[in-house]
Amino acid sequence: MTSSPPVLEVKGLRTEFHMGRSRLCAVNDVSFSIGRGEVMGLVGESGSGKSVTGYSIMGLVDPPGHIVDGTIRLHGKDLRGLPERQMNAIRGDRVSIIFQDPMTALHPTLRIGQQMIDAIRAHRSVSRSEAWRRSRDMLGRVGIPSPGERLSAYPHQLSGGMRQRVCIAIALLNDPDLIIADEPTTGLDVTIQAQILAEMQALVAARGTALIWVTHDLAVVANIADSVAVMYAGSIVERGPTDVVLRRPSSPYTVGLLNSVPSRNQGASRLSQIPGTYTPAVSEEAVGCRFAPRCPRADDACTVFPALTAAATGAPGHEVRCHHPYAAREGRLSHV
């Protein structure tokens, strides 16, 4: 579905945390690409490596974490190994991120306006009053009432939903090419979630911004995303166009996820009903398919870590990491 060259192309990304003598592989061989104006849903259980993937793209993985392999190309330019200065020029300008926890992301003792103005003036040489004006307009655009007054408020004076909108506004300030939204609506009630989702969608559509929407919630993905990548234990186990992946899932894990969604209209649902316990990130040289211990189709072949291969649906870009994927019709779920 992308004819233009990708905004972001991630290939073979591997991010590890080195703790003492042990190594924990939080992101393992993650590859995907997003074109202009495209929305990709990044789905997976807690601890599957979604946030670390986002931080890796932003160059915000702190020791003991390290990106040990892979390329992260923004408009064809590899961000890995870019000097910190140049990376800083890209962060918040060409790529911005909305943090998972908006309550702790904003500085508690700086006014909202100051934090927004800083974000603009780090990248644009505009006057304070001009930056202030832009900030106010952006707050208005994400649906914050009387934005002028909010600029002189401190974060603790705003509700959780408001703070979330402030973070969204900050992400949009410099008109980036890519926004990574890391579960920006968790902790908000369902109606506000839906509202923010719709606003966000309209805003990025109007500007042609590429969007990575990280979530637990398959219903949200179905609503917003053009493509979806399903992560399990640090790896993408299935990816492809949203309607294909959700209607004709190929990976047993995706099938399990879809079966665990109680009902299409029930909003947020934690994905926890797959039998077996989830082992999040994997200590270094664990072998074989990570999902095998919980998988109904696992056999001896699964002791070898599978590669990402084209799925049986034949849909463009539909790939699966499994030795025993469901065939095209087999995995189809009636209720999705």
């Binding site: 915000l60 020029a89 918040g92 500085h107 700086l110």
Partner: protein, 325 residues
Amino acid sequence: MGWFIARRLGQFLLLLFVMSLVVFVALFALGNPVLNFINPSSPPDVVRQAIHNLGLDQPAYIQYFRFLSGIAHGDLGNSYTSGRPALRLILERLPATLELSLGAMLIATLVGIPLGLGAGYRPNSLVGRFVEGFSLLSVSLPTFWIGLMLIIVFAIETGIFPAGGRGPTTDLLGMKVSFTSLEGLRHLFLPALNLSLFPMALAMRLTRASVEESLRMNFVRYARAKGLPPRRILSVYVLKNVLPSLVTVMGMVLGGLLAFSVITESIFAWPGTGKLVIDAIQISDRPVIIAYLLFTVFIFSTINLLVDIVCAVLDPRISLRGAAS
């Protein structure tokens, strides 16, 4: 705000009362001070007359009551030796001590906070190692020894600075200050530097520790995600988070310097309150000691109040009403 200050004032008066009682009882237990400063060979009736004149022949509770009613009139008694009001003596010496302590705090913060910031930001850098070494050294070497070394090196050997005493003073708002002239500053520098070493080490360590902690906070990562330059993150986002605790501790230290700069004042022959009280203790000049201790309570209470107000300004989440409890 007004309510907060009124409540603080109440706490202060209570503290003052308790303190006066403790001090009075302790000094009373030390015995009759007259024998310390009167000629031991005086005839007994002269001694008795002197004791009577000072009211020391009265029962303890009457002495204490007279003392309290004196305080109520702003009278803390007269010095036994000079006969002058004790409070006056202290207030006369105060500018010298104030100048010395504030000078020391200025040096301590101007050097300590930036170095602490640098050390917290890059623990393995040169600055980080220096701070590590300096703070170790400053706790293991006693202040008086460093003071003597400073005098030997910078005064006696090289003669860059005078070895002691206070320089010429000028009148500023009715206080005699010496920092207004170059000569006065030269006299002030060494003792202020000496006195600054402890708070400087404290400021460094505290700043470094809070910076290291702040850097792990989500809002710092978010500031980096916005692409802010490291300098701005450190000097605004991190510093703003570090300052309240720093102000609190440094306020306490300033109180300590004002009240107990005794050693440094003695070494550098600095005519401040510390020297006054040492002299008073030596001859059991009871009113001066009591006045001094009560004055110390006053200083600490005032500084605490100021610290709370500054912290409330720095951190809008703190309400003074809550801080008062």
